[in-house]
């Protein structure tokens, strides 16, 4: 099992923040922000020393919960400061990006990091369509086309034009090409039938997140079936599972800590917007319709003492097939750095060495 630390840039708000997404930018405190960014490097030096294989960053907007709206900038910052750890960019939100620009930036980053880059391409969470005025009903199609264009831009040796449905370019010829050939290890992220099929067709990895093992396992099973249909078998590390983990000295301690967690996402959308966008954002798990996640807290699927967690990881391997765990350690998204460091320490010393061979 490979293990990845999900770095969100922990922002310690000096005063209470408005509870709604988008969070008013006037509430930003620059000293707290500077500390959050500085803290990334200090924390990741420790994460690297503990033996984590990867650090992951993701793209979210208009909130202090995940302070990396431009994850490529974060990744470049990490690449320059840390020498060994692999940087997993999970990932650019494809439908609201210029795919050619994404291909260029990722290729550049792979060169800067001398091949220490892993890429996840995704559609993005429901609220993100508001960020750049993206029609949520077009998000799926724009994602598929954008991903296809990124792969083509990385691999096509001659200048070309692209006559798409949502994107059109007459001249594409990216420099630099990726350091890793033909391109960095890449995952299509998401549980949808479309993402699984895209990954299988292009021999990419599949990344799922947060849901219970049985639920996300439906998607990874479908992905493996599709890979077989395309005549190949994915390696274990081509299945990635991002999850919340709450590790404590005992199972009772862990459950007690969980009970203290809010069951709502920290910054929810206004109800009217949430209800309207949910009717426009169609989501599925391997073709089975599911409701978009808009305001609920994400489940914690690894919880308990180190012994319990080791068993859960074993079960995850069996049910989900995951060869990479991308972990958000409790408390997720909070600025409680002492609690985070306790989790990190306990996980790194009491769990990590025992799940390597799973």
């Amino acid at each position: 099992m490979k293990v990845s630390f999900f770095e969100t840039g922990r922002y310690r708000a000096p005063r209470a923040l408005p509870p709604e997404w988008p969070v008013p930018s006037g509430a930003y405190d620059r000293e707290a922000g500077a500390q959050a960014y500085q803290g990334i490097i200090e924390r990741l030096e420790y994460v690297e020393a503990l033996g984590f294989d990867w650090v992951s960053v993701s793209e979210h907007h208009y909130s202090p919960r995940i302070l990396t709206p431009a994850p490529i900038v974060t990744a470049a910052y990490i690449a320059a400061r840390l020498r060994k750890i692999t940087i997993a960019l999970l990932g650019p939100i494809v439908p609201q990006s210029n795919p050619v620009r994404v291909a260029e930036e990722l290729a550049m980053l792979d060169n800067l990091a001398q091949g220490r880059l892993v890429v996840g391409l995704l559609r993005g969470t429901t609220n993100e369509s508001l960020t750049y005025d993206l029609n949520p009903q077009e998000a799926r199609e724009r994602t598929d086309e954008g991903m296809e264009l990124i792969l083509r831009a990385w691999t096509e040796p001659q200048p070309f034009g692209w006559q798409g449905r949502h994107f059109q370019y007459r001249t594409v010829s990216v420099w630099p090409r990726p350091f890793q050939q033909p391109h960095p290890p890449t995952y299509a992220l998401g549980t949808s039938r479309e993402a699984c099929e895209f990954a299988a067709r292009h021999r990419l990895g599949c990344g799922v997140s947060y849901g219970p093992f049985e639920v996300v396992g439906k998607a990874t099973r479908y992905y493996r079936e599709q890979c077989a249909r395309h005549g190949w078998t994915p390696a274990p590390e081509q299945i990635l599972y991002r999850a919340n983990m709450l590790v404590a000295e005992t199972d009772d301690d862990a459950q007690a800590l969980l009970r203290k967690q809010p069951n709502q996402a920290p910054f929810a959308m206004r109800a009217g917007v949430r209800d309207a966008i949910m009717t426009l954002d169609s989501r599925n798990i391997a073709g089975e319709a599911r409701a978009p996640v808009v305001s609920g807290a994400l489940p914690t699927t690894f919880i308990g003492s180190p012994d319990t967690i080791v068993e859960q990881v074993r079960r995850c391997r069996n049910v989900v097939g995951a060869g990479v765990l991308d972990l958000s350690l409790h408390p997720p998204g909070s600025g409680d750095l002492d609690a985070l460091m306790r989790s990190l320490d306990l996980f790194g010393k009491s769990v990590l060495p025992r799940i390597r061979d799973i």
Binding site: Q158, Q163, R165
Partner: protein
């Protein structure tokens, strides 16, 4: 096949005509006004599609039926692709077209390349739709039942309306000619001439072409650095049938502006 979905048959009235040249009586379908655009079809024979409708709004479209294909009698005489190209050049001349744009599809893409090499001063610009002139090693023409052929030709046959299925009798008639003329996967006689081709050329491949690998596009760029290569997203081998609007837009733009078609004219002002 379903009747609903993307139409596959032209709606414009194309008028039929014939020219007699080189011992053949050659049928053509014609519509539209403007600069002439001559179309040479693929190995499946001629079919007038919605892409022809769109092109006929800006061009005088002349879609030929090459001897031995479609309704014409079996052609046992033509021995080579350059010979077929010469016959088709004569057919165009008989229509009084001194200069013209030339579109070649798949098998007809190779005919069109030879024609442009033989008559460079007459061909204003060349468009090659999924050309079969340079093929991956071991490339096979679509064969089998009409349904199997359909699966090879289209990325998403389920999205299309009624697809006129290839007629097995007509295919059987033209197959010996196709086999005789298609040449090797890498035709050195043709490829050594391509660097000298000065005609503005656009090469189009569908990203899901299951007959000729879209990776062949880069070989055209290597041999003819001045040519333009464009991938049509989510289209199979029959690009113009699967994505007629996308196909017609890029073809029209290229025929109008040649290399300058790389300069965008898309306006982005939302509220002036």
């Amino acid at each position: 096949m379903r009747d609903e979905g993307i139409p596959t048959v032209a709606q414009t009235a194309f008028r039929e005509g014939f020219v007699e040249v080189d011992g053949f009586r050659i049928r053509y379908m014609e519509a539209g006004q403007g600069a002439p655009l001559v179309h040479l079809h693929g190995a499946g024979g001629p079919r007038v599609t919605p892409a022809h409708d769109l092109l006929a709004r800006h061009f005088r479209v002349v879609a030929f039926e090459m001897p031995g294909f479609g309704q014409s009698p079996e052609n046992t005489r033509t021995r080579s692709m350059p010979e077929l190209a010469s016959t088709m050049a004569q057919a165009v001349a008989r229509l009084g077209l001194d200069t013209f744009n030339l579109l070649g599809t798949s098998f007809g893409g190779k005919t069109a390349l030879w024609l442009a090499l033989q008559a460079p001063s007459q061909v204003l610009a060349l468009v090659l739709e999924a050309p079969a002139a340079i093929r991956q090693e071991g490339a096979e023409s679509p064969s089998g039942s009409p349904e199997e052929i359909t699966k090879r030709l289209y990325a998403h046959p389920e999205r299309l309306g009624t697809i006129p299925l290839p007629d097995p009798v007509l295919r059987a008639k033209s197959q010996p000619l196709v086999q005789r003329l298609r040449g090797p996967d890498r035709d050195t006689d043709l490829e050594r001439r391509l660097p000298s081709l000065v005609t503005p050329t656009l090469v189009l491949f569908g990203t899901l072409d299951r007959v000729i690998s879209p990776a062949m596009g880069r070989v055209y760029k290597e041999l003819m650095p001045g040519c333009q290569l464009v991938f049509v997203y989510d289209a199979g081998h029959a690009i113009s049938t699967e994505r007629p609007e996308a196909f017609a837009e890029v073809v029209e733009d290229f025929l109008e502006r040649h290399d300058a078609f790389v300069i965008s004219r898309t306006e982005t002002v939302i509220h002036p």
